[in-house]
Amino acid sequence: MLGTTVTRGKEKAAQGRTWKIRVEKRLEAPAWWNAVVPMISITLALLFGAIFLKMTGYSPIKVYTIMFKDTFGTRYGITETLVKASPLLLSAVGVSIAFRMQLWNIGAEGQIYVGALAASWVALTFTDLPAYIMIPAMMIAAAFAGGLWAFLGSAPRAIWGVNEIITTLMLNYIAIFCVEYFVYGPWRDPLSFLFPLSPVFPKSAWLPCFGNTRIHLGLVFGIVAALAVGLLLSRTKWGYEIRVIGENPDAARYSGMSISRNIILVMLLSGAISGIAGMCEVSGIIHRLQAQVSAGYGYTAIIVAWLAKLHPIGIIIVSFLFGGLLVAGYSVQIYGIPADIATMLQGSLLFFVLGVEALARYRIRIIRSSPEPAHHATPGVARKIT
């Protein structure tokens, strides 16, 4: 049976005809929907951005052309896109596994920072290690730190039911301040002319790059992580538990799964992956610790994960798209257009994807019927719109 049928809009008796607009819930979304919804959303987001550009006096077509050409039309644009996509990909995979269990880990940003911090500690302390030990050691340290940070947010949730959105969010600021403490204080490079930078890492602590580009091994880590998490969720017992808990915690409890234990474990994994994202930034790009490790990757990752509907392959694709958007934002700056246009596009993308998806659950029917009150409720012409 149909749950509710909302009838909106007044009946308009014009020219002897009755018009009715009905908004009703779809029982099931058609299969082609998954492909069409993102297309519509992207178009709407671009239109929305165009209105803003127009209002501020830029030509939307020109700006979009520049953005597209500089990002996907040049070698530099493409490699930079991949560079930006790497941390997004890793941390989006990290948050997505928590989201799968309805655990709202908003702390990827903080987990990136502590990951970077721990990796830097290894690189700056054990300077003599050869690369084949140094890199894995940095990764382990970063994963451990990110996991610990997520644990600090999830333990209160597992034990007392404290809302993890608040704890993980607040821990972000603590992580950022910790990094600042070290780069302004004990780890400041004496040669940095008082800039908040640590000394440059030894060469053995640099992630190898592809050819002469800035694309580093972190991209491979990201793709591997996405595939591994995909396998974990769809094939393993643990992944099965995560899916059941995410869909119906009561059924999970009923079948003997421990929810607290899974909250802790999933958050450890989620934080560890974001921690590695932080390590890749310092080890692959900056080669030292600085006050700003991440350009908000941990937050953007949340949008990426949602847009991809938490699907690992989707996350890979959306990460590249968003990496491209970041690069496009920088490229239009040269023409005096604020880079924030890219951020705004990201925001409106999420907005329209969520909006279109919610609307797609309904359909609108226009019912035209004869002037005589429809005691037989002649369906007349029923036209589906969306």
């Binding site: 049928t5 094939r235 393993t236 099965y240 869909e247 119906n248 009561d250 059924a251 409720a377």
Partner: protein, 513 residues
């Protein structure tokens, strides 16, 4: 079509379609002034749909409705009540922290400005006295029992001037005694010339209160008859289309060993009140122990305490003399307890996961279904196919989502999964609630089958007929206590009903009345 004067309601040729279902097909239905008209039928026969059309919630696809001889269109519940038709739904539509009087006036367009609550309260008391519906107009809804809340709904409709009152399965939530009071009220309303439409699937109620009966079957009218011209047996066959019953083979289970033993178990409910108050009972191998009682008297807490989902505050629970009190759900599952929970979509299955994923919900840890850390999905699919076939679960395929299953098929899947682990004890809470007769019968014969194979079954139900048919013994629960346990040869409905209402002995009831 000519209208008879005395018919306050006439519905002609009503047809209503839902996607994939023809809920009502060319239904003719009429109610005369001052009659109690029972609308009888199984779940899914189209009773509620027809009445939702009359009360303005749905619009019919075809057909016409006459009220007092005038053809009208009922566009909304407000429109219905303006025409004198009021419906009391199975799920009440009341605001918990408003008073009775506030709820009764809520949404009314008069008075426009000043609310004189005292005057309204006086009117409400006068109305409720007139019909014998005891109510305190100042009490807030959350303080009231379910039976009292139902009275609020009835008074609400009377206050708004309903001449025709539709009651959707009103006794489902009442004790037999409360139900009797309700019937007395209905008689009083009839005497004042009001008409009552009474939706039910309980034959004894029909025989008790109705003047006329319309039996619906599969969305069509099977027949409309005067009560005095039929027997309940005839009505039953009209309703079902055929007579049926599964009979419990006699078996002497009194000698067999106890599987589950509870002694003096107490536990708290969700709100911290005592939900189980010193429960002692045992379930033996190869028997069905039925637990009767009005829902909300501790049945859910009882099942949860046994399955480890709720902590026992004191007392002990043992399975084959092994203490399982406050063990984790997993330990209890592993010791051989299966559980069909009350809320099948909310607890028993994960509705958005596939049928395969739902079938391995309890077995995914086992060696058969997994290899190391991985789930062996080939084995899982085989299990799913087998189970779907064996229990005749109708599905679009084992990879479709479980939420797409109908109630009966979801329950077959759930019960099938629970018994496929060869349990020693099966706890089944309301396993046939909301199912159509065919599915309910299938579920019942699975339960009987399990009993005959030596499984100990704790069956909780609010359907007394079902308990009497299936149980070897019946324990009656009231306010967290076991009021008594009766063997097959010592029970009668009246006695069980009294115990359900908390009256411990027949003599006491006589003293009360």
């Amino acid at each position: 079509m000519p209208q008879k004067e005395e018919n306050i309601i006439e519905m002609h040729g009503i047809t209503k379609r839902f996607p994939g279902v023809l809920a009502n097909e060319n239904i003719d239905f009429s109610v005369s002034c001052g009659e109690i008209h029972a609308l009888l039928g199984e779940n899914g026969a189209g009773k509620s749909t027809l009445m939702n059309i009359l009360s303005g919630l749905y619009k019919p696809d075809e057909g016409e409705i006459f009220v007092r001889g005038r053809r009208i269109q009922i566009g909304s519940p407000r429109h219905a009540i303006d025409s004198g038709i009021g419906m009391v739904h199975q799920h009440f539509r009341l605001v918990e922290n408003f008073s009775v009087s506030q709820n009764i006036t809520l949404g009314m367009s008069t008075p426009r400005f000043r609310l004189d609550m005292t005057a309204i309260e006086d009117e409400v008391s006068a109305l409720s006295k007139k019909y014998g519906l005891q109510l305190d107009p100042r009490a807030e809804i959350w303080q009231l029992s379910v039976g009292e809340q139902q009275r609020v709904e009835i008074v609400k409709m009377l206050y708004r001037g309903a001449d025709v009152l539709i009651l959707d399965e009103p006794t489902a939530v009442l004790t037999p005694q409360e139900a009797r009071e309700l019937f007395a009220t209905l008689d009083r309303m009839k005497a004042t010339g009001r008409s009552i439409i009474f939706i039910t699937h309980k034959l004894d109620e029909v025989m008790h209160v109705a003047d006329r009966v319309t039996v619906l079957r599969g969305g069509r009218v099977a027949e409309t008859v005067n009560k005095k011209d039929v027997t309940s047996r005839q009505l039953a066959s009209l309703m079902v289309g055929k007579e049926h019953s599964a009979v419990l083979p006699d078996k002497d289970t009194l000698q067999s060993e106890p599987v589950l033993t509870l002694s003096d178990v107490t536990a708290y409910g969700d709100r911290g009140t005592t939900a189980l108050d010193g429960i002692s009972l045992e379930v033996r191998a190869g028997e069905i122990l039925g637990v009767a009682g009005v829902a909300g008297n501790g049945q859910r807490e009882l099942t949860e305490v046994i399955t480890g989902l709720r902590r026992a505050h004191s007392g002990t629970i043992s399975l084959h003399e092994q203490d399982i009190t406050n063990k984790t759900p997993l330990e209890i599952i592993n010791s051989g307890v299966s559980y069909v929970p009350e809320d099948r979509y909310g607890t028993g299955i994960a509705p958005n996961l596939s049928i395969v994923d739902n079938i391995i919900l309890k077995s995914y840890r086992s060696r058969v279904t997994s290899k190391g850390p991985f789930i062996d999905y080939d084995a899982a699919k085989r299990q799913a196919k087998e189970l779907v076939e064996r229990f005749q679960v109708k599905t679009a395929g084992i990879h479709s989502e479980a939420r797409l299953l109908s109630g009966g098929n979801a329950q077959k899947l759930l019960l099938g999964r629970e018994i496929s682990s060869d349990p020693k004890l099966l706890v089944a809470a309301y396993p046939t609630r909301g199912l159509d007769i065919g599915a309910a019968e299938a579920i019942r014969s699975i339960l009987i089958n399990q009993r005959n194979q030596g499984v100990a079954i704790l069956l909780i139900s609010e359907d007394l007929d079902e308990l009497i048919r299936l149980s070897d013994r019946i324990a009656i629960m009231f306010e967290g206590k076991i009021m008594g346990t009766l063997n097959r040869d010592e029970w009668d409905i009246e006695h069980i009903g009294l115990l359900m209402a908390g009256v411990p002995d027949i003599q006491d009831e006589e003293a009360l009345t």
